[in-house]
Subunit: 368 residues, 2 copies
């Protein structure tokens, strides 16, 4: 199925929608009510290019929820079981966000500016509604809004070279998940060493939609001999790298333990999290199912439009939620949720794909 996407104002354009068109974008998805490119050349060609060169990605869909005020730090700790007390003012943290039942509402990146000012760089759900609802319900002294800030990612092995050329030789000194300011055309933006690939790179939090095209153009001018191209999060690469996708691989029905994020549910501050009690019980009992990698045998499977049942030959033991053919691993790489009795690494299971039953092997994430 290759349906046409009907465009309306409700599916918001980004500062780079026209640039994507000019660079030959071939597919879109909708993410946070906004257009997110999915393919330029082909998913496989984009994948090879990403692993060898450098790409510029319009990830404006990673909207920011900005918290401002004396209760900002208290509020953000309510959202997540991850202990934020030691976080520095130049750090980014990946944080599972849970409701009162420990169900996952989003898996954003928290960007701390200072104790009273934070961004939450969100995955695909209206997290701002939960944050605003909690703050209104608790009567907290904090303002919450979505600023006009749009991330632009620079990903791939040549990303360091490219950002050095455009923003200064010292920018590659940034450590992983740290951020700093850069200046472009006399305006300040935030840059972090981060991004939704495991090839390395940066995300520029572009401050002001009107600044977007000039930064894009500067990157393409400076990167011509680096073979810079327009790209986007790549299905194959992100599955290989074990990067989860909220809404695909986990939903409100899953706890962080089920999503394999138990390491982020520790520390005394986690007691301030709305879901603390539910997560304590989940930790005690252990999750009934958990995310695993799967290597699915045979030739290329089609993209997974819903979920595929995993069986032990007789009964259902889980679902595959993302899958793609991996040229580098020469197998179909997949992410799925598998029940406790069957989740051991090396276990052989059956996946019911649209191309018939396939043997699959449970494996660790990321693929190695």
């Amino acid at each position: 199925m290759q349906p046409v996407l009907s465009i309306s104002r409700r599916l918001r354009r980004t500062p780079w929608t026209d640039k994507n068109t000019a660079h030959g974008v071939k597919g879109y998805t909708v993410y946070n009510h906004m257009l997110l490119p999915t393919v330029f050349d082909s998913v496989e060609a984009d994948y090879h290019h990403l692993k060898n060169h450098v790409q510029v990605w319009d990830v404006a869909v990673e909207r920011q929820v900005e918290l401002n005020g004396p209760d900002a730090a208290r509020l953000i700790q309510m959202l997540t079981p991850r202990d934020l007390t030691k976080m520095k003012d130049d750090q980014c943290y990946y944080i599972p966000v849970v409701d009162e039942n420990g169900g996952m509402l989003n898996d954003p990146v928290a960007v701390k500016h200072d104790e009273n000012r934070w961004w939450i760089s969100i995955a695909d759900s209206d997290l701002i509604y939960w944050v605003k609802g909690l703050a209104a319900g608790k009567g907290l002294n904090v303002t919450i809004h979505e600023p006009d800030v749009s991330p632009l990612a620079i990903q791939g092995p040549k990303a360091d070279d490219l950002v050095a050329r455009v923003f200064g030789d010292d920018v590659p000194d940034l450590r992983f998940f740290r951020h700093r300011k850069i200046s472009f055309n006399g305006k300040e933006h935030t840059i972090a060493r981060s991004g939704y690939s495991v090839q390395g790179g940066f995300e520029i939090y572009v401050d002001g939609s009107d600044q977007g095209e000039a930064i894009w153009d500067a990157l393409f001018e400076a990167g011509e001999d680096l073979n810079v191209r327009a790209g986007c999060p790549n299905l194959i690469e992100r599955i290989e790298g074990g990067l989860l996708s909220y809404g695909n691989d986990m939903t409100i029905e899953n706890t962080p333990y089920e999503a394999g994020l138990g390491r982020f549910c520790k520390g005394p501050a986690a007691a301030g999290c709305i879901g603390a009690e539910a997560l304590r019980r989940e930790q005690e009992n252990g999750p009934k199912r958990q995310i695993r990698g799967l290597s699915i045998s045979g030739d290329s499977v089609p993209p997974c439009p819903d979920s595929w049942t995993i069986t032990n030959g007789t009964s259902e033991i889980g679902q595959v939620t993302s899958a793609a053919w991996s040229p580098d691993f020469n197998t179909n790489v997949a992410i799925g949720m598998v029940t406790r009795e069957h989740w051991d690494i090396g276990n052989v299971v059956t996946v019911k794909t649209p191309n018939g039953d396939r043997e699959a092997t449970i494996c660790k994430l990321p693929f190695k």
Copy 2:
């Protein structure tokens, strides 16, 4: 631009996605993280058919937020400035939902089952996050979840005939925005006289995804001589009818007064609404801008992918947010937000369309 939509589990399928395909769906949008058909034959052919016959619409994207518990009635009144105290157990109410600033978060239909059990049938935003956040913050005794309930709409002048044939001769006795139970294959579902067109009709809240296809098939078998077809909310018809679209015509940046919904901000119970104080100020001062119809001169304008500036010839006085050529009114019908000084009915303004500047006349909604 006719981009291809890349499918993944994150863009949820509905009980009727396969049926839509079988009936030749030509376009989709994404709404509440779910697939919503936008066109079958052509938008114009679908429009003529809707006005003359009867259509079956997959509107499963109208997800339900179910409130259960002793604080359910108190919670739903916190969400909206509309007075719900006189609402009967078989009524549906269109309710603007606002935040603490009076900004619109959604414009759903509330479906009351009894004082302790409600559905909120939502437009395109994760309203459940706001509702859950408020309830958790206030410590209310209520559970909130999205049940496996998917609306299927039957719209058009022959809708009464069709539902009578399939669900019983007494079903057309239902009054507007009232609901009752129907039985199909031994299972109960809720049906209401409602729907996102002004042609009349019903929405069946199908209880259980596995029940969906049988009901669809029964409607098509019974309606063959009524010329029943698969359809979907129609851009032209909904603009003519003045049916607003959340995310297109109003957003969190707008109050209900700006959206022309001031009549729903009355009654003493509205004081229980989180946004009551902000809305009181807005009412006192009067909104600075408001939704209006616009008749745009000249030949057919393209669909409005973002917004088009409205000017008084020199400066900006508003934006068009939805527009389409109307065969029946022989003009381009549009919805937009216009500032107070220029919003009088009959006022002539300029709209900056991609096809050049066009003269337009401010008019009432619905078009008449």
